[in-house]
């Protein structure tokens, strides 16, 4: 069961990550999301350091637990081109099937920026085209929320030092490029 947020309070849910995602994505004026009791974190074993607090939020599901390994590509057990932790995040968002597919398409295109051969101009252009296509598809399906979704996927994809470095290199490689906005339906 997913949840909705009203009056800055998120109601109980069976899956906190979904609650967190729903709150963070859908509530513009949200101040705090918790379990409804007003507490920010479980009452027991309150961690003393900021790092520990964040870790606990992740392990509890209040924050999405992103892969922070040194691998640039990260885990993709089902080989669908979307990193597993990001896929889990998207699939638990309160989205329609079409919105979910659009988000996964964008996640896949964004993930390609980390793995593309930066010396291969044709491949770079293909990734650029894929990003254009997924952005358009997001806009079609999520309207005004598409920009937030796009930004969230980007920040989650390039979430470690290694990935950020690689992502910066990708962007540097694209400097000077030009790409046309695609015509028609670009959803996969």
């Amino acid at each position: 069961m997913l949840t909705t947020c009203r009056s800055h309070i998120c109601h109980a849910t069976t899956w906190r990550a979904a609650q967190w995602a729903a709150c963070s994505l859908l509530t513009l004026n949200l101040v705090a999301c918790g379990d409804g009791s007003g507490a920010s974190a479980p009452a027991t074993d309150v961690p003393t350091t900021l790092k520990a607090q964040i870790t606990q939020l992740e392990s509890s599901g209040a924050l999405p637990a992103l892969d922070r390994s040194s691998s640039i590509a990260g885990p993709d057990v089902n080989n669908n081109g979307v990193r597993d932790d990001i896929e889990a995040y998207i699939t638990h968002l309160p989205l329609t099937p079409a919105q979910q597919r659009a988000a996964l398409q964008d996640a896949k295109a964004t993930q390609m920026t980390l793995t593309v051969d930066l010396t291969d101009k044709v491949a770079l252009q293909k990734v650029g085209d894929a990003l254009m296509a997924s952005t358009k598809c997001l806009g079609k399906n999520l309207d005004e929320n598409s920009s937030e979704m796009s930004s969230r996927i980007e920040s989650m994809t390039a979430n470690t030092s290694e990935r950020a470095k690689r992502y910066l290199e990708y962007n540097a490689a694209r400097s000077g490029s030009s790409t046309s906005w695609p015509n028609g339906d670009t959803c996969e």
């Binding site: 709150c23 900021l50 939020l57 924050l63 980007e154 920040s155 790409t179 046309s180 906005w181």
Partner: protein, 555 residues
């Protein structure tokens, strides 16, 4: 070979004296035309449909048996003394009625014989009626006339042509069975209001006037067909699709541009069955307006794409069906550090600062992207969500984020100042300029939109485009510019921390703020394209849209 000049035509006696000189003159003129024999099947001008307006056919003409049989002008095919065949009068020739074929001297049926029922409908000779009692071919042609030759047949009985005394078809001369004269082919001319699409006139139908002349006279009642085709896409429309020229020899039509998303050439085909160059083609070239976006150099490619997406939405709402093509011109360089991009400069700042607070952010780069995008205070962002969950415990983290954000801003100011002192050159953006020039060569027009440092790039691109393609049509829209000069209208918000920061840094050449906006947690910087200037909840969006609309209308 007998050919009459115009003067001869009014004097059939003198006609025979008209000589070779005129013939040579006429055919020397005609010699520049196609060498192929200009032959027409029956119904050569389609006047079974149209010419009847002026020449109503009635019944088979009477036979003037008592008159001398003579079909002046048709010799030698028609015997000069064949009874009941053709007659001559001072005003015209009379030809045989139905059932009485003209007979050539060699005894073969004349090609325009009405009795040749295998060919239908058959014009004139036997059933044209231009007066009360004169069925026929009026030998007085419209003035001025050109060539007069014998109308007859050669080769196929279904073909009526202009033949010489050797029974050879005369090239490029049209037999007019309504008059019995051979003429220069009709000349077709046209006047069109434009052959090129421009956004400012896209909704105005193109006015096309077709003008038909025979020799130097306008030719009324000439059937014209009009058709539009395109090898590139769905063609535009033209109305009417057919008609006849009016008393002035003109037919007016209007062409409406289609919707298109790439360069397209429509071909208007003007069909004039009697005209020498039939059909005539008019090319209408059209190309969309390139709405090009030049991003701020601290944008990732994805963020720039997101900005372009927002611009497509904003532009689509105001472009009023004008065909456009959106293009991202991505730049990330120019902040002064060789080998690194502007964004990499910011990343260095984050690497240094994220070591604080026990390195809590050192491997959490999602917060870096939020900070760069100004979204770190937005509840929807990773950072905003984290701060919300931490509640009071987040104070230290908030302070750290604020310090990093300020450090990033300082880096932005430094990079921006560097760019202002050393703006990008044409060489720096050669690829983009080449792309723009290629579009210009294909008749594309331009609305170039720039945000932040992209304004420095767009100035260079615009200047190079105008100098290298002076006939190109381009307008510039500046969003959040810091450039001391602009090439078009601009919008700059009073809450823009980046531009305001430049002023604090002593860079006073930046334009004045011209719009006052409320702050928003969606963009702490008050500077980002999507978060501030295209934010649907604030006034800058409408301002930007008005600038884009005006730019398109001015192309």
């Amino acid at each position: 070979m007998r050919v009459f000049n115009p003067l001869c035509l009014w004097d059939t006696t003198a006609a025979y004296r008209c000589g070779l000189q005129i013939l040579l003159l006429v055919f020397s003129l005609l010699g520049s035309m196609s060498a192929a024999a200009f032959t027409k099947t029956w119904n050569p001008f389609g006047y079974s449909n149209y010419a009847v307006v002026n020449y109503p056919y009635t019944t088979a003409p009477p036979v003037y048996a008592s008159k001398q049989a003579f079909c002046e002008g048709y010799l030698p095919l028609i015997g000069a003394s064949v009874s009941n065949v053709c007659y001559e009068s001072s005003v015209g020739d009379y030809c045989v009625p139905k059932g009485f074929p003209c007979i050539a001297q060699d005894g073969s049926p004349n090609a325009w014989s009405y009795s040749d029922t295998a060919i239908s409908p058959q014009p004139v000779c036997t059933y044209a009626n231009v007066g009360a009692d004169r069925p026929v071919i009026d030998t007085r042609p419209p003035r001025p006339r050109s060539v007069r030759a014998n109308v007859g047949w050669s080769g196929s009985a279904s073909v009526c042509g202009c033949i010489n005394s050797d029974l050879q078809l005369i090239p490029d001369v049209i037999p007019d069975l309504n008059t019995g004269w051979c003429y220069d082919p009709f000349g077709l001319d046209y006047v069109i209001s434009t052959t090129r699409y421009t956004p400012s006139t896209a909704k105005t139908p193109v006015a096309l006037t077709v003008i038909v002349r025979r020799s130097y006279e306008l030719a009324p009642n000439t059937p014209i067909t009009l058709r539009v085709t395109s090898a590139d896409g769905t063609p535009g429309t033209i109305t009417p699709a057919s008609g006849v020229t009016d008393a002035n020899g003109e037919l007016t039509a209007s062409y409406t541009f289609p919707q298109f998303d790439k360069k397209q050439v429509d071909v208007i085909e003007i069909g004039c069955d009697s005209c020498m160059f039939n059909p005539t083609h008019v090319n209408i070239t059209m190309a969309p307006t390139v709405v090009g976006f030049f991003n701020g150099v601290w944008n990732t490619r994805k963020q720039a794409t997101d900005g372009l997406a927002a611009l497509t939405t904003a532009t689509d709402a105001v472009r009023d069906s004008i065909s456009v093509r959106y293009e991202l011109f991505y730049n990330q360089t120019g902040c002064g550090h060789v080998g690194t991009t502007c964004l990499q400069d910011l990343a260095e700042v984050f690497i240094q600062r994220s070591q604080q607070l026990d390195g809590v952010l050192s491997n959490r780069w999602e917060h870096f992207w939020d900070l760069v995008g100004g979204r770190h205070t937005a509840p929807q962002s990773s950072t905003g969500g984290l701060l919300g969950l931490l509640g009071n415990a987040s104070t230290a983290l908030v302070q750290l984020l604020d310090s990093i954000f300020n450090a990033l801003l300082a880096q932005v100011f430094a990079g921006y100042a560097q760019m202002l002192s050393s703006p990008p050159t044409g060489a720096d953006m050669a690829t983009h300029i080449s792309k723009l020039q290629a579009y210009a060569d294909q008749d594309y027009s331009f609305v170039l939109i720039a945000h932040s440092q992209g304004n420095l790039f767009v100035n260079t691109a615009y200047d190079n485009l105008r100098s290298s393609r002076p006939n190109s049509s381009a307008k510039v829209v500046h969003i959040a510019p810091a450039s001391p000069t602009t090439r078009g209208d601009y919008v700059l918000a009073d809450i823009d921390l980046v531009i305001n920061g430049l002023r604090v840094q002593g860079i006073t050449s930046v334009p004045s703020a011209n719009i006052s906006l409320p702050t928003s947690r969606a963009d702490a910087s008050g500077h980002t394209l999507v978060g501030t200037y295209l934010d649907a909840s604030r006034a800058a969006l409408g301002w930007v849209q008005n600038m884009i609309k005006a730019a398109i209308a001015a192309l």
